[in-house]
């Protein structure tokens, strides 16, 4: 802190630097993960297969949920909607 009680320039620079480092980390993780599971498959055809697997698993899970809802009566509300 500076003498007037305001944060010093060095303090602000360090805060800004650490926040930017966090932002950079987020960007890196998004790029890496999206590249691995992204559905475009532009670079690697394997990504298309992975996206299909994910979509299948998603569909199965949602189907199971709908069945459970139907058994418990909530499905009727959805039909009515």
């Amino acid at each position: 802190m500076a003498e007037d009680g305001q944060p010093s320039r060095s303090y602000a620079k360090q805060v800004l630097g650490s926040l930017l480092a966090g932002l950079g980390l987020v960007a890196l993780v998004v790029l890496l993960v999206a590249d691995r599971i992204g559905p475009t498959g532009v670079v690697s055809p394997a990504r298309n297969e992975r996206a299909e697997d994910i979509a299948e698993r998603d569909a199965e899970r949602r189907e199971d949920r709908f069945e459970r809802d139907d058994e418990s009566g909530r499905g009727r509300d959805r039909d009515r909607d």
């Binding site: 802190m1 926040l19 993960v33 999206a34 992204g38 994910i54």
Partner: protein, 140 residues
């Protein structure tokens, strides 16, 4: 809610969830590193403890928001029921409870401040566990 999630994620709810979980898990690791500097356990020339603690609080606020949004999307789309042998909902619920307790201690119960390092480590481990239970099947 399902339609909102579908529209927000352009039909790729799982992928978006995995990306968001990976982001908050990596930020949790970064947060732990910041607090190692903040508590003075690690001294580096380019970052002093006070700015490290300030950044920890700022990034922590953002992490909580992203975590809550991800939780809402997840519950809205997949529901609350756990599949058999699926530990993800349990680990995630535990994470939310510990996170809420940690925030309570930070904001209001300063007398319990001595618990913060332990709570921080617990939150970090739970973030990693939550990420592992949701992302491992997709990234593995």
């Amino acid at each position: 809610m399902e339609a909102v999630v579908q529209s927000l994620t352009l039909g790729h709810a799982s992928e978006v969830k995995v990306v968001l979980a990976s982001v908050v898990a990596s930020l949790a690791v970064y947060q732990a590193l910041l607090m190692v500097v903040g508590y003075g356990k690690l001294r580096v020339s380019f970052l002093r403890p006070a700015p490290a603690s300030f950044s920890h609080r700022a990034i922590g606020d953002a992490v909580v928001v992203v975590t809550l949004v991800t939780t809402l999307l997840c519950i809205g789309y997949f529901g609350l029921e756990a599949e058999e042998h699926d530990s993800h909902p349990i680990v995630a619920a535990l994470l939310l409870c510990v996170l809420a307790f940690k925030i309570t201690v930070v904001r209001w119960f300063h007398s319990l401040g001595f618990l913060l390092p332990a709570l921080g480590v617990t939150v970090l481990l739970l973030f990693i566990a939550t990420w592992a239970t949701v992302a491992a099947p997709y990234l593995g």
